[in-house]
Every structure is written in C-alpha cells, then in structure tokens.
C-alpha cells in the first residue's frame, strides 16, 4: 500500500528540483523562465515571486496549458514549502512539459532569503461577485476591471450630465472619482440630476453625490471638491486624475478645463446639451482635436441662452452623460474605438444620432503647431488611453 511519503518520494525522483537561490540567479540573468505559483488564492495575497503566474492546484490540470502554451520553455513551479509543487511539476511532466523543476523550500524560503516579492492585485470574493458580468467579458476581464479599480476620474459638475456619468462610473468600479461642484441641490434639479434626491435638497451637490455613490459601490473612493473650478485651481485638480468628464454648464468652465487638460495631457470626455439636443466627443490631447479645435470661441451671452432660461428635457442629459461614462470606460480599459476626432449628436425629439468629423486645428492656440507639441513633456495618462485612442481623421 502506497502512502503519502512514498508518493512524494516517487514524484521527487521523477522530477528535477531547484533552489530559490538558483531561480533568482536565472531570473536576474534575464533568462526567460516561466515561474508558476501553485498555492491557493489566500496564500498568494501576501506576496509572490515577481513575474510569477498564479494557478492554484484546484484548476491546475485544466488551465495550465492555456497559461503555459510552450511546452519546451523552462518552467519552475513553487508552493509554500516545496511539497505541492513537486506534484504539480510531476503533472506538468506528464502533460509533456520538458524542462520542469520544483523550487525546494518554496515561497517561505524565498522570503526568508530576503528576496523581493510582489503583492498581487487580487479581487476579494465580494468584488468577484460585484463585477462578475465585467469579469466574464473578454474585453474587460480581470485585467480591465483592475484598471478600472485603479483609475482616477474627475467629473466636472454633479448636474444633469454628471449624475448618470457618476452613477455608472461608480457602478463600474472606477476606484477614485472626484466630483467638482460648488452648488447646492435644489428641487428644480431633480427632474434630471438623478444622483441626488429629495432628502438632499439644500445639501452641497458634491457631498450628495458622494453619499449616493458610496452607497452604490463601497469600493469607490469619492472625493468631493466643493468649489468652482477656475483657471487658478484647474491645473492642480486635473493633474490628480487620469480622465476628465466635462459635464459643466457654462462656457468659461469648459474652456478652462480644456486648456488645463491639454497642458497636462489628460483626455476630456465632453458632453453638452440644450433643450432636446446634445453632443459628445472625446478629446485626447495631441492624439486628436481639443475643444478649442471644435469651437475656437464661446458665443456672447446674448447668443447663448442657458438651460435655466431655455429649458432642457430631463432624460436628455441622462442619455448623453451615460454615453460619456461609456467613453471613459473605453479609455481606461483600452477596448473599442473612442470618440476621438468625431462628434456625436443626439436629437431627443426625433431620436436621431448624427456624427461629424472633428479635425485637429493646426492653428489651435492650445494644441496647434503654434502652441508647440508638448506631448513628450505632458504628463500623459495611462498607457491604455494613448494606445487605443488612435489617430483622428486629419
């Protein structure tokens, strides 16, 4: 009758073993060594060998060929002490991997030797549940969801456009959301500003939004900026975020936000509405046009009635603001085709969308040739934004 000791002995005699010292030497020498951690999820949370892939033994046989497609590549397997990895290495051998070794002493020994280790980004059980519908989308998945949780998005205005954008960004798990608004919730806002509610009348909008979003998703850190954004504070505020959502209600703010965001290399997802019509575009500095390329100047007040004078259909900002959130997700995660170099228009009376081209204006005072191409100097956002933003039609 074979017992555990016999089984271990047999497996050990069939495979190669290596040491943490040797593994570290090979990794530091730049060898393309596949390192596989076969511990359970809760063990890996406290650290793993830098660059190692984690595949717990419960899914090992079914998933390892996807994780390590090249059976000729050298593979080192480790666990906590070097027992489970012996059996995993034996399994790999049986699956046809030709250069497999188990790391003696495992991660405990690695840590005792004082070698570097990384703390993996893992989802806890409640996050796996909350984001389940994202995690099974190949375009988002674990990696995309992690990008969302690490992203910082600033929403200018917790009003008609900001409300749906904030709700969906928080629901999607955008980790840090800044809300800039100096206004107080009023009863006449509630026809469209759905992030607030009747109990919040008289409360600062940024605070009210924070309360709603925190209840929707406790993963999200909501920063309430209870002031009006202007030229003096915009650069510092915008610099702290990856993507800006412009849901403001006046031209001054829109140009201030644009100019600061271009200077800092931050993408702005623009939305604006009037009565029954809205428009939307994504401005990625130097990759596509900016707001001033689209409209070089604001109209004088007599030619620019605002929504409080002219009215606005409540559901309209709901549609446009939701589309803004959709743009933000694409920029952060990196899938799809952002609305760069394109302006989407929406007419709520006819339920018609239109699209026109927006070109980068070479004479733009902010992002044109005269302004100098500061792209290299700009503190450009995360890689996904630039990789996927693409070049606009020009």
């Amino acid at each position: 009758m074979t017992n555990f000791r016999d089984l271990l002995k047999q497996a050990k005699s069939a495979i190669d073993e290596t040491t943490p010292e040797e593994v570290r030497r090979r990794l530091e020498a730049g060898e393309r060594l596949e390192v596989l951690d076969v511990r359970e999820d809760d063990e890996v949370q406290h650290g793993l060998v830098p660059g190692a892939q984690h595949l717990s033994r419960s899914h090992f046989e079914s998933r390892v060929e996807d994780a390590l497609p090249n059976k000729e590549a050298p593979v080192v397997v480790y666990c906590a002490s070097g027992v489970r990895s012996v059996f995993a290495a034996r399994t790999l051998q049986e699956l046809g991997y030709s250069k497999v070794a188990s790391m003696n002493g495992g991660f405990s020994r690695w840590k005792d030797l004082g070698y570097d280790y990384s703390i993996p980004k893992v989802f806890d059980a409640s996050q796996r549940d909350r984001y389940a519908r994202h995690l099974i989308l190949p375009e988002v998945g674990l990696e995309g969801q992690m990008k969302l949780l690490e992203a910082k998005v600033l929403v200018i205005g917790a009003g008609g456009l900001g409300s749906p954008a904030l709700l969906y960004l928080a629901a999607a798990g955008v980790g840090t959301i800044g809300v800039v608004d100096s206004d107080i919730v009023e009863a006449n806002n509630l026809q469209r500003q759905v992030v607030h509610n009747t109990d919040r009348i008289g409360t600062p909008k940024a605070q009210s939004a924070r309360e709603t979003l925190t209840r929707l998703n406790p993963d999200v850190k909501v920063v309430a900026h209870e002031f009006r954004i202007d030229a003096s504070n915009a650069p510092e505020l915008i610099a702290a975020y990856d993507v800006i959502v412009d849901g403001s209600d006046n031209f001054d703010t829109r140009y201030v936000v644009n100019d600061a965001a271009v200077a800092l290399g931050k993408p702005v997802v623009h939305g604006s509405i009037f009565r029954f019509e809205g428009m939307l575009s994504t401005f990625v500095p130097y990759e596509g046009p900016c707001y001033r390329c689209l409209y070089p100047a604001a109209p004088p007040p007599e030619l620019a009635p605002n929504c409080s004078e002219a009215g606005v259909l409540g559901v309209l900002p709901g549609i446009v603001g939701t589309l803004q959130a959709n743009e933000v997700l694409k920029l952060i995660v990196g899938y799809g085709e952002p609305l760069v170099g394109r302006l989407l228009t929406f007419d709520a009376q006819t339920t018609r969308f239109g699209e026109v081209k927006v070109r980068r204006d070479p004479k733009c005072p902010i992002c044109g040739e005269a302004a100098g191409d500061d792209r290299a100097a700009a503190n450009v956002t995360n890689g996904a934004v630039l990789e996927k933003a693409g070049t606009p039609t020009a």
Partner: protein, 91 residues
C-alpha cells in the same frame, strides 16, 4: 431634389420650429442668404459683422466641417445635407 439644411433647436425660434429647411443648391453663402430671406433674423445668428461664420457656429456639409472645405464658398449639391451646429454649454 434639393439641399436639406438641419436647423438646431437654438435657431428654431426663427423657423417656426421647423427642424429642416429644403433649399436650392449653391454655395454655403447662397444657402445662408436663402435662409435669411425665408426666416428673417437667422442670418445674423450664423454670420458675424465681417460676414464670416461666427467662431461658435460650425457648419457641416454631410459630415465634413466647411472650415476644412471651402468655407462659405463650399459648393453644396442636390442631395447633400448641411448641418448647423452651434456651441452649447448646458450640462
């Protein structure tokens, strides 16, 4: 066949709330003149004192901004669609 000009909400107070105007082909400047004859007052909304387009109004021939075509001299043919798109700030 004629040219279809889409009128945005902001200007519909001049057009008895009509959302589309069917006009004769010509240059954009010709179309603006036709609009002004039909709907007095709308011309000043589109053109500044120097008779150029206001910098906060974009005009598109189909999906192309006329600033990158031939500006007000851009020729519009039968079947084309012209869209007027003023800058709006509401949020």
């Amino acid at each position: 066949m004629s040219v279809e000009v889409r009128i945005p909400t902001v200007f519909r107070r001049f057009t008895n709330q009509e959302a589309v105007a069917s006009l004769e082909p010509g240059t954009i400047a010709d179309l603006v003149a036709q609009l002004e004859r039909r709907y007095p007052g709308i011309g000043d909304q589109l053109l500044a004192e120097d008779r150029q387009l206001h910098r906060f109004i974009n005009v598109y021939l189909n999906d192309e901004d006329i600033r990158y075509l031939n500006k007000l001299e851009t020729q519009v043919s039968e079947g084309d669609t012209v869209s007027l798109l003023p800058s709006v700030a509401g949020g």
